[in-house]
Subunit: 154 residues, 2 copies
DNA sequence: CTAATTCCTATTAAATCACTCGGCTTTCAA
DNA sequence: TTGAAAGCCGAGTGATTTAATAGGAATTAG
């Protein structure tokens, strides 16, 4: 019941990108260095974010990545689901009504348990917008004001 | 971000045990057969439940397992945490204040995200008591009333 | 005693994770 | 026009975890 590094690194990368949003295209190498993440590995996470329209790649020299829509239109849920797949604790809880796997879903007691967990997770992450995290990141780094690099942990 | 079979099988096993609570000690072989779970594997999950005082083993012939406290005093959270370990989405979110790993927790923006996810998961599972699931299981099986075996899926 | 049962430890095949690596394509800048 | 900077893509790999299986010791009712 843990998020993988995909979700953790990926969220940090997107926050980093969002914080530097008005600096034009940001090269992956910059994000990787600031966040202390292997660039090769980050490169694997990006396609997942690109596919759902969170980031956009700009190829060629002086290229890099930008957010493909404003930060207040991107939720943490969007980011984490792109990176981790659906956030349901079990397979059988699908999008609502579309029970593919679980055959005896009528007599299944545990299903309601998984549903409640699933809903609470998704509600939580959908309630946090990327813009909030950007604000918080800037505020925290101003207070600390030691270095301007947006180094994030966890 | 999925529960393992430990949590899924284990919860079903405990529900099964709770449903047959007044039949005396229940052999693992019975639970395994009713739930369609390998007995050898179930045997590995039991120690986790025993350690936190959810079930109690009765050794010898005619032995088996019983709940070690009433079902309304056992939450789904107790069961899942026993089987899966803590339900936090990342390591660095610990019991509140005991931040062992994450060093720069002050400037860590994502930490609050993990905290909110963690809280919502734990609130959800702690709000469901085993007794509720037993009630529901009995009700559902009466309505369906095809077989008396408490076969659960998911 | 003996059969049933819990209890404990070891082994294992398969999957997943967290990367690394190499090569290709696109584009800008000099 | 060419070269370097970047994104893009797929294959490979060691370590860890998962989901079991297997075997045997301890315990107890009948």
């Amino acid at each position: 019941m843990k998020l993988s590094t995909r979700g953790r690194y990926g969220l940090r990368a997107v926050i980093d990108l969002a914080v530097h949003d008005n600096d034009g295209a940001i090269a992956l190498s910059q994000i990787a260095e600031r966040q202390g993440i292997s660039m090769n590995y980050l490169e694997q996470l990006i396609p997942k974010l690109r596919k759902v329209g969170i980031v956009k790649g700009i190829r060629g020299a002086q290229g890099g990545y930008v957010l493909s829509k404003p930060a207040h239109e991107i939720s943490v849920g969007d980011i984490l689901r792109a990176l981790e797949g659906d956030l349901n604790p079990v397979e059988c809880v699908e999008v609502m009504g579309t029970d593919t796997t679980c055959t005896n879903s009528d007599t299944c007691v545990t299903k309601n348990v998984w549903k409640r967990i699933s809903d609470s997770i998704n509600d939580a992450v959908d309630g946090i917008m990327l813009s909030e995290l950007v604000e918080e990141s800037k505020r925290v780094n101003n207070e600390a004001s030691t270095d301007t690099s947006q180094k994030l942990n966890c």
